[in-house]
């Protein structure tokens, strides 16, 4: 049985199709999920894609977080459903409380769109278990509100519990606290990542295929679950 990975489309989502393609290239079956539909169609995992859901009105992800589809995502995430939030999806996860902290305006105010070096650290999660701890990869980053912030207490907790999934190497593209590019929840099934692994899955269309591991990891996690 091929694992079915749902990808939610919100009004304003941009990278949903790219996420579906990444799932397909990894060997999974992508399932398009509509934000207004509470039925997640029994998918084995969910991706919240990048983009500008609701135009980032009020705050990025603030309105998408209340979509009917999110009710199911939040409930099932609490029961172990793997959920990957990419960029805007990461913002939605923080707004929904599935992940701590928040994403804010890039400290230098520029919208950054470039290939970015990352160091993988938390490789025990459903979405990153295919990487080695300390492995350096290159994945495109494109964001205007990608600066991850949290209280010192929360940041220390993330560090000490191994929940920093990835950190920026070289130049931090948005000023995020402690160069954090991605984090996970305690159980490791929910991951938020600011850069776009779904844009690094083919040599023709990206800086390489370093991002494919996010999608092959979850397929492997589902097989062995």
């Amino acid at each position: 049985m091929t694992a079915r990975i749902g990808v939610v489309t919100f009004p304003g989502s941009l990278d949903d199709r790219d996420a579906q393609r990444a799932v397909r290239l990894a060997g999974g079956e992508p399932v398009a999920l509509w934000h207004g539909d509470a039925d997640l169609q029994g998918v084995d995992a969910v991706v919240l894609p990048g983009g500008f859901s609701y135009g980032d009105y009020l705050r990025a992800g603030a309105i998408a977080r209340f979509a009917p589809a999110m009710a199911g995502v939040i409930e099932q995430a609490g029961r172990g459903l793997p959920v990957l939030g990419i960029c805007n999806g990461f913002q939605v996860l923080c707004e929904s409380g599935l992940l701590p902290g928040a994403l804010t305006r890039n400290s230098h105010l520029h919208f950054v769109n470039r290939d970015q070096g990352l160091r993988m650290e938390g490789v025990g999660t459903a979405w990153t278990r295919g990487y080695q701890a300390g492995q350096e990869i290159v994945v495109p980053v494109k964001n205007g509100e990608g600066r991850y912030v949290a209280s010192e207490v929360v940041l220390d907790e993330l560090e000490s519990s191994g929940r920093v999934v990835a950190r920026y190497t070289g130049s931090n593209p948005n000023g995020s606290s402690r160069d954090i590019a991605g984090i996970s929840n305690l159980a490791g099934n929910v991951v938020g990542i600011m850069p776009h692994p779904e844009h690094a899955v083919e040599d023709l269309t990206g800086p390489g295929t370093d991002g494919l591991g996010f999608f092959t990891s979850v397929l492997e996690a589902l097989v062995t679950a």
């Binding site: 009020l58 705050r59 603030a62 209340f66 923080c94 707004e95 701590p100 902290g101 928040a102 804010t104 305006r105 890039n106 400290s107 230098h108 105010l109 600066r147 912030v149 949290a150 000023g175």
Partner: protein, 82 residues
């Protein structure tokens, strides 16, 4: 129920960097304007709602702010009658 005009002001918490406010502040001297010791930019929300009384109106607006208008991780809010 009577109608009330309520204002919700949402600001980033003081410890959160506000680069937009800094950029605007930096622009003041270039325009020949007085310098600001501090300049931070937030959101001003104007609401019209039906409530039993003033207390109820403020309570409704507070609930809106707590759930949607303000993100408690990075923002503080104040509610007042217009």
């Amino acid at each position: 129920m009577p109608a009330y005009e309520v204002v919700v002001d949402v600001m980033l918490k003081p410890e959160i960097l506000d680069p937009a406010g800094q950029a605007v502040s930096n622009a003041l001297p270039a325009l020949g304007l007085p310098a600001a010791a501090s300049l931070r930019i937030g959101k001003h929300v104007e609401l019209s709602l039906d409530a039993a009384d003033q207390t109820d109106a403020l309570a409704q607006a507070t609930a809106m702010a707590e759930v949607l208008l303000s993100n408690p991780v990075i923002e503080d809010f104040r509610v007042r009658l217009a």
